[in-house]
Symmetry: C2
């Protein structure tokens, strides 16, 4: 069911293959399809996922780790191919890209400050521990 030629990439995946690999339920994967984020082929009734489908799923999950909604993740994925010919649409695409970049930069700043505060918190906690153990 998962023909793997010696050491490279599987040609296709079942839904439970992907659910196991990424630690999510099959319900979740079908839900993403319902929302238009995935569109696997069918062999009869069953879904069969290509390596590209798997990549899309990875992108969705990365988006989740960054706090993106599924709509945001879909937009980001759609940014990957500028097949949307129209000049005006391409301009708006560039705008969208710039916006995401700004958001990511804000997140970077947020992470930096939070990291620093965690360092301080750890230090204070260790100090508190030392006081509670020695005397």
């Amino acid at each position: 069911m998962k023909p793997e030629s010696s050491h490279s990439e599987p040609a296709s995946y079942s839904i439970s293959d992907l659910s196991r690999e990424f630690g999510i339920t099959t319900r979740t994967i079908r839900f993403y399809e319902d929302k238009g984020l995935l569109a696997p082929e069918r062999r009869g009734q069953a879904r069969i996922y290509s390596p590209e489908d798997r990549v899309r799923l990875k992108l969705i999950l990365r988006g989740k780790r960054l706090g993106f909604s599924l709509d945001e993740s879909r937009e980001i994925i759609e940014m990957y191919d500028p097949a949307h010919g129209n000049v005006e649409q391409l301009q708006r695409l560039l705008q969208g890209i710039e916006q995401k970049r700004a958001q990511l930069q804000q997140q970077l700043r947020d992470i930096q400050s939070l990291m620093g505060e965690l360092d301080d918190a750890e230090e204070r906690t260790r100090a508190s521990l030392a006081k509670n153990i020695s005397p």
Copy 2:
């Protein structure tokens, strides 16, 4: 209603002061209180927010930008004071801090890769634009 001595920090804020400053509704602020993230004093019935309350609110909103739930933000805020004497609790606090750090590092990696992909997407989009304008 907001005594400010020349150039420093206001001593207190009303709920609409804060809602205006941060671009959120008063409903949201009260909701956070309901969830135990804020505990402003009262003057009669009205809420009166201290500078510390305002900082807590800022931390909550930063958490939101990073995709944290309110429960997660509360935990993070609670990490700031190791008054929780018990040694065992302090150990678990250190664990929590370490976990958050790991999560933030994952987010950093995610942002880095996404940034790179946005660069590529922009480049392809500009190329597509050039093709659609010149000929």
